[in-house]
Amino acid sequence: MAGKTIVITSGKGGVGKTTSSANIGTALAMHGNKVCLIDADIGLRNLDVVMGLENRIVYDIVDVVENNCRLEQAMIRDKRYDGLFLLPAAQTRDKTSVTPFQMKELIEKLKEDMDYIVVDSPAGIEQGFKNAIAGADRAIIVTTPEISAVRDADRIIGLLEAEGLRDPEVIINRIRADMVERGDMMDIEDMIEILAIDLIGIVPEDEGIVVSTNRGEPIALNDSAKAGQAYRNIARRIMGEDLPMMKLEKDSFISRFKKLVGLA
């Protein structure tokens, strides 16, 4: 098997990299893919809690590169999907504990057995970021409709290209249709035009994300959540399907009414 490695990155912190990684990984596994999620945020791990797997960690990525355990021993199998695994970050070490070369080797090994490897990058552009992109075939940048996040996304695009990772794609996260409509939030077209890269998905702001993170159950598992649908669509696009972008609707009176009577 020759798996594909996708790095989820952003530059800016707090835009939803970890949530996106968890949901893309979960949605890819739903389709029967063998997937390994790698938390590359050494020292500030969180993919484990978002996935609800925090109490199953025995070994971590640093243990693997330091040969304290075998790779398979550090990979935690997901509760819901047999084909989904998490390779957790170390919490008590720092970014220099792994080198880009070691990361590449690790990923090469995983590729033999996996369809997809999803790497959750830390914020920033230092060594943690360089490790995260080291073995990647493809990059997805997460941004939100804010100047700071789009600016950082633009920096990241430049850095990825300098590292030979061409044609990154972008997820625009936390978009609010009501704010776009009244002219208080940049719209998708504006951001895509400015960044000049391809859009792989839009994720509407959704309270359900907080709830799903509270429970450690990625929202992609929730059939009725808009954000869950958005992530399932992104996974299908990653697999090569050509799907139209989700229509953003305001929570209008009619849609609230439809929800109330169970029509939507």
Binding site: E146, I147, V150, R151, D154, R155, I157, G158, V180, R182, G183, D184, M185, M186, D187, D190, I194, L195, A196
Partner: protein, 77 residues
């Protein structure tokens, strides 16, 4: 309420484009101003540019990043 004249998304877009020009060409605002002034100076030797309406933008295209400058001529529309 002057600040409400323009939608905040337009303000964001303009400010974003401004910072991205600097980020992409790696020039400070002062250097950008100096470059702009020198360009105006050179062009003014030959043509009548309207220095109030100049637009400079750094765009990312397929294989390169390009500085795209727009120098409208005085009295033209």
């Amino acid at each position: 309420m002057k600040s409400d004249d323009k939608k905040s998304k337009s303000v964001a877009k303009e400010r974003l484009q401004f910072v991205l020009v600097q980020d992409r060409v790696k020039l400070t605002p002062d250097e950008m101003d100096a470059m702009r002034d020198e360009l105006i100076e050179v062009l003014s030797k030959y043509i009548d540019v309207d220095s109030q309406k100049i637009e400079m933008d750094v765009r990312r295209e397929d294989d390169m990043t390009a500085l795209v400058a727009n120098f409208p001529l005085k009295g033209s529309k």
